[in-house]
């Protein structure tokens, strides 16, 4: 090893420069979406501990806003509970009303929600990831959806024992299956790669009339997100080079810059559904 260093030192710094640069660029290129977090996973536990510490400090500065939001959510849940009691006889539950099974469903419902805290969150990179303080010991698995009080957040991409990392919606690799609230038409939502507030809806058939302010919800077909979770509202219509489809810019309902409390969505029938999709 020492001889190699001596050789490099005597020969040329350019050689070392090229070797180190090639090494780094190979690493960058190899960091593909799902494999990307492999290497980071090793340090996940360690960095998770440290980030948790700093985010605990940060949390104190946001206590008041957070309390307000929690009490608002509480109130909303209470209301929903009341509503659910009323309509219980007609077997419609608030979550997962797309599929109605027997009444015993209340015991093991279609989706359950695991609360988690954001301990690291990036929004200004090209590929944005979020780190959460729940891991495999809490039952988190890869591909579970993550939502906040206001809308969708992302999909779990990697899990270690105590922490999990989430591919944020603000990532070129994320495509969310969406549905217009008014006419139930399907479309795909992506990030516009520029600004954490805006996304792009693609593949809207051009015969559909879209207006500013139209609401987009999740379709629930991917199995990661429950149906009818808010995604955002149409901000303006974009020019498209394809005549058959139109595109539109949307404003995400989730505010990614102030993300603190989120819920990880566990689909209790995910395995069963996936086994059907294969055949």
């Amino acid at each position: 090893m020492f001889n190699i260093l001596k050789f490099l030192k005597r020969y040329n710094p350019i050689l070392l420069f090229v070797i180190l640069e090639v090494l780094s660029i190979v690493m960058i290129v190899n960091s593909q979406p799902y494999h990307k977090r492999k290497m980071v996973n090793v340090s996940n536990e360690m960095s998770g501990k440290l980030f948790e510490l700093t985010s605990q400090c940060n949390a104190y500065f946001h206590l008041k806003e957070e309390n307000d939001r929690l009490s608002a959510t509480n109130a909303m849940l209470m209301n929903m509970l009341g509503a659910a009691d009323v309509v219980n006889d007609s077997v419609t539950t608030v979550w997962g009303n797309g599929i109605q099974l027997s009444d015993s469903l209340s015991r093991n419902s279609f989706y359950c929600f695991i609360p988690a805290h954001v301990i690291d969150n990036d929004i200004y990179n090209i590929h944005n990831y979020i780190l959460l303080d729940k891991g495999s010991k809490d039952g988190i698995e890869i591909d579970m959806g993550v939502i906040s009080d206001n809308g969708i957040v992302g999909t779990v991409s990697n899990v270690s024992r105590n922490y999990s990392s989430v591919i944020s919606v603000l990532n070129p690799y994320t495509v969310v299956s969406a549905m217009f609230k008014d006419n139930k038409h399907l479309a795909n939502v992506k990030w516009d790669n520029m600004d954490y507030r805006f996304g792009v809806v693609e593949d809207i058939p051009s015969h559909l009339v879209i207006n500013k302010g139209d609401t987009l919800l999740t379709s629930g077909f991917s199995g990661s997100y429950p149906p009818d979770i808010m995604i955002g509202e149409v901000e303006d219509i974009l020019p498209s080079d394809n005549e058959d489809f139109t595109r539109a810019r949307i404003r995400f309902s989730t505010n990614f810059s102030t993300l603190r409390n989120v819920y990880i969505v566990k689909n209790n029938f995910k395995q069963e559904l996936d086994s059907l999709k294969i055949y």
Binding site: L8, F17, E21, L23, I28, K36, T54, Y124, M194
Partner: protein, 175 residues
């Protein structure tokens, strides 16, 4: 001499912690991404070999990468900076300074010199960083804006840090 070496090691760790837990949380917008840890590379002594500087830059970049989940990105930018550093120093510094002075710091070299020196190197760092992050030339105008604003903010932060840590005996900067 021993003291200065010890100070270098302390600076290494302090700058990494400062970058990860304080500076990385300062995001004033899409274009501003200040970087401070590279100050360690800027301040390496004149008598350090070029391969030492480059390996230090690579190691430091990898540590930052490990924590921010971007394998290779910071390392590539830091190595490029450390490579250019040699030429900037050779062009900007007199031979006598190279032998007499310990490292290219604010106290040793004066304000104007250090400002130019750090601006050039941070410009290199940020340009490489943002080009590799975008990994295409489609976003060139964004890359250039990001480079400009990030360089300005980083230089400001670095000058602040240097001013904070001036030894009391050196409070007059006119050298």
């Amino acid at each position: 001499m021993y003291n200065k070496f010890f100070a270098d090691i302390m600076r290494f760790m302090a700058l990494i912690l400062f970058q990860l837990f304080i500076v990385d949380n300062i995001r004033l917008g899409y274009y501003i991404h200040p970087v401070v840890y590279i100050l360690f590379i800027l301040l390496m002594p004149y008598n350090a070999q070029r391969w030492q500087v480059m390996l230090a830059a690579f190691g430091m970049g990898m540590i930052i990468d490990l924590f921010s989940g971007t394998p290779g990105l910071n390392a590539a930018a830091a190595v490029a900076t450390s490579y250019v550093r040699h030429f900037v120093i050779v062009i900007m510094t007199r031979k006598s300074d190279l032998e007499e002075k310990y490292n290219p710091s604010l106290v040793e070299m004066g304000f104007t010199w250090f400002f130019t020196y750090s601006s050039i190197l941070l410009c290199v760092y940020n340009l490489v960083y943002f080009m590799l992050e975008a990994f295409s030339f489609k976003l060139l105008n964004i890359i250039l804006l990001q480079t400009l604003f990030s360089t300005l903010s980083s230089v400001a932060l670095i000058l602040l840090i240097m001013l904070l840590f001036i030894p009391k005996s050196n409070l007059t900067l006119n050298k």
